[in-house]
């Protein structure tokens, strides 16, 4: 049975919606700014921040401010609403949701905890009600008309890719008729300080796959797809033909030098689709800009594709690393690459990594035939997932 993508929705530092995101990318405009403006932190580090406050986001969606939703939920609702507006959904059918997040309602918990650790009778309880990961899923379901099975998963930076995989399985097993899949994560002082403590944040704009890369920039956003069984869809963007979730099993936070998990995930996704490495038109890489990730991913590319690595790029120079949402944001961009016939450049690249010699896409390409896109998402805990979209 074929699984097709029938809707897409995206929010990132580039803006709200497919149009704004694609326009910025085609013009080479990054969403990463030198400092956070909204996030409460003393860290002077570049971030990909959506420049709308939680109050403004509530107003924009038309949710009363008293609902006091977490930023993660608000970003998710915006992207899901856009994806669902792509088609006429028959709400008499089962509309499911597989969402993912790594920070949950941490942006609100941070406010709570500051007061709470001084005096445990203080801190507003409404600031912790949305702490857990499923709270954002519940809010999305409530405001977007989800009427059937819903779940939440969290596998660090590969989360949304695994949500796509889980959604495809729900369709195959006839548990849902439509399924909204993806991820959402807001910037938080928690994650910014976390990655800073690991010393993998670049103080300048990130340079994925460049020899001088010095770390990632954090971003925030949400990316969701609507998946349906092919026979139920009137029209579609593309097929989800292959996917795989494998574990690098090398280290809790670092990737293996050989790129074992990445290699297994990409090759399994191709196998599932009965495709050869040579059939891949474009790879949207995980490409965070850290020394370790980009080396490991490059090693995996060379193992799988030999000396004919397909055109590839990381779009994290535009959006920052949106953590759990990254697999969703990049799945949306991958689907659009097929639908619109475009391939995205890798910002801030100058010098190939000597050991691998790989050069990513450097210019925005329009009006090209893109038959298949592989997109990678890797995370802490060794989680490596790849999705394969085809025309």
């Amino acid at each position: 049975m074929g699984i097709v993508v029938t809707g897409v929705g995206i929010v990132s530092a580039l803006g709200i919606g497919v149009e704004k995101n694609l326009a910025a990318i085609s013009l080479g405009e990054s969403g990463i700014s030198a400092l956070p403006k909204l996030l409460r932190t003393t860290n002077k580090l570049p971030v990909g921040e959506l420049r709308l406050s939680n109050e403004e986001l509530h107003a924009l969606i038309g949710i009363p401010i008293e609902e006091h939703l977490s930023r993660t939920a608000l970003l998710g609702i915006l992207a899901v609403k856009e994806a669902m507006a792509c088609i006429d959904i028959d709400f008499s059918k089962r509309v499911g949701l597989v969402s993912s997040t790594s920070v949950g309602g941490m942006d609100l918990t941070e406010h709570f905890f500051e007061k709470f650790i001084e005096d445990d009778t203080t801190g507003r309880l409404r600031d912790v009600r949305m702490h857990d990961c499923a709270a954002s899923t519940e809010a999305i379901a409530r405001y977007c008309g989800i009427n059937s099975y819903k779940t939440t998963l969290s596998t660090a930076c590969s989360s949304a890719a695994n949500a796509v995989i889980a959604g495809a399985k729900l369709l195959k097993h006839n548990i849902v008729d439509y399924v909204v899949v993806g991820g959402t994560d807001a910037l938080s002082a928690f994650t910014l300080n976390g990655f800073k403590s690991l010393m993998i944040l670049d103080e300048k704009p990130c340079r994925p796959f460049d020899a001088t890369r010095a770390g990632l920039n954090l971003g925030e956003g949400a990316g969701y797809l609507i998946l349906q069984r092919e026979e139920d869809a009137k029209s579609y963007y593309c097929h989800l033909s292959g996917y795989s979730n494998r574990n690098d099993a090398h280290h809790q936070t670092a990737s293996s030098a050989e790129g074992n998990g990445a290699y297994l995930a990409m090759s399994d996704a191709l196998k599932m689709a009965n495709m050869l490495p040579a059939d891949v038109s474009y790879i949207n890489a995980h490409g965070t800009g850290t020394g370790n990730n980009d080396a490991s991913e490059s090693a995996a590319f060379l193992r799988l594709f030999g000396d004919s690595v397909p055109p590839f790029s990381s779009t994290k120079g535009y959006t920052g690393h949106t953590l759990a949402a990254a697999g969703g944001v990049e799945a949306v961009l991958s689907v659009l690459a097929i639908k619109k016939g475009c391939r995205y450049p890798n910002l801030n690249f100058a010098t190939p990594i000597p050991e691998y010699g790989l050069i990513p896409m450097l210019k925005y390409e329009n009006d090209v035939l893109v038959n298949s896109v592989l997109t990678n998402s890797f995370g802490f805990g060794g989680n490596c997932s790849s999705l394969l979209f085809t025309r």
């Binding site: 650790i117 939440t152 998963l153 928690f190 300080n193 403590s197 805990g381």
Partner: protein, 269 residues
């Protein structure tokens, strides 16, 4: 969809020496309390650490995740004013740490995912396992759930008024599940149903029990305390009841306003 349950172990039942379950002293030392508890339960469930090699899927579930480490890191950010932070609690605060650590013990590259869906986390993990088995993607799966309670969490839940009827709790449960029956198979999962509306005890029995001798565990999760994956303990109890001769156990759970989930566990054959 159907699968066989070979072993179910709760954290309280772990009896092996932790040095055998997690042989590397450095790894043991770095693990937080909940990670240690969940990983030892997982390995005990497998019988021996080497048995992790045989798994082709590791599926974990947690409602709250590694709460103590999340709190510790958050506290450090505030107290140390975002300066010179130790990354260990941040690393270990990630929801998939337990799943990752189990894979890492034996460098197992198989499918590995973590469900974080409140009181449905364990049942979602079980559904995923059953779909993988039905699709022929997996033969031997480790499915487990864990949650930890912390003083702050207790205080917050107390302020929310959640302990009027229930005590707090925490725990870990892991199950070894296979596609085909083995000499060790104790029971089988017959069905998982996610309902949109609650059922009374009578309605539930009438709809799901296949005979009058079936046993219904109706909202008994509170026996194990108030934590999102407490129903994994109901699952463990259902398997024990089957071993004691009950032919079918229906587990119904409706936790803190979440939509209900029904599990049917049956004897083999």
């Amino acid at each position: 969809m159907r699968c066989y349950i070979n072993r179910v172990i709760t954290a309280e039942e772990v009896s092996s020496d932790i040095k055998l379950l997690i042989p590397d002293a450095g790894v043991r030392r770095r693990m937080s309390r909940v990670i240690k508890s969940a990983v030892t339960t997982a390995v005990e469930c497998m019988g021996a650490v080497e048995e992790i090699d045989s798994l082709d899927a590791i599926i974990t579930a947690t409602g709250w995740g590694c709460l103590a480490d999340s709190e510790r890191f958050l506290r450090n950010i505030i107290v140390d004013k975002e300066q010179l932070l130790n990354p260990t609690p941040f690393i270990q605060s990630t929801f998939n740490t337990v799943g990752g650590q189990i894979a890492l013990l034996r460098h197992n590259h198989c499918y590995n995912v973590t469900y974080v869906n409140r009181s449905h986390s364990f049942e979602d993990a079980l559904l995923d396992a059953m779909m993988r088995i039905a699709d022929g993607e997996s033969e031997k799966i480790l499915v487990g759930a864990f949650d930890e309670q912390t003083p702050s969490q207790h205080r917050i839940m107390e302020r929310m008024g959640l302990f009027r009827k229930c005590n707090d709790g925490e725990g870990a449960v892991f199950a070894h599940i296979t596609a085909t029956q083995t000499p060790e198979s104790k029971a089988q999962v017959e069905k998982i149903d996610f309902l949109q509306h609650p059922l009374s005890e009578e309605e539930c029995f009438a709809r799901y029990a296949s005979s009058d001798s079936s046993k219904l565990l109706y909202n008994n999760y509170s026996e194990y305390g108030l934590f999102p994956t407490s129903s994994a303990y109901c699952f463990a109890k259902a398997v024990k009841l089957i071993q004691d001769g009950v032919k079918e156990v229906v587990v119904y759970k409706e936790y803190l306003g979440d939509t209900p989930v029904v599990l049917i566990i049956r004897c083999i054959g």
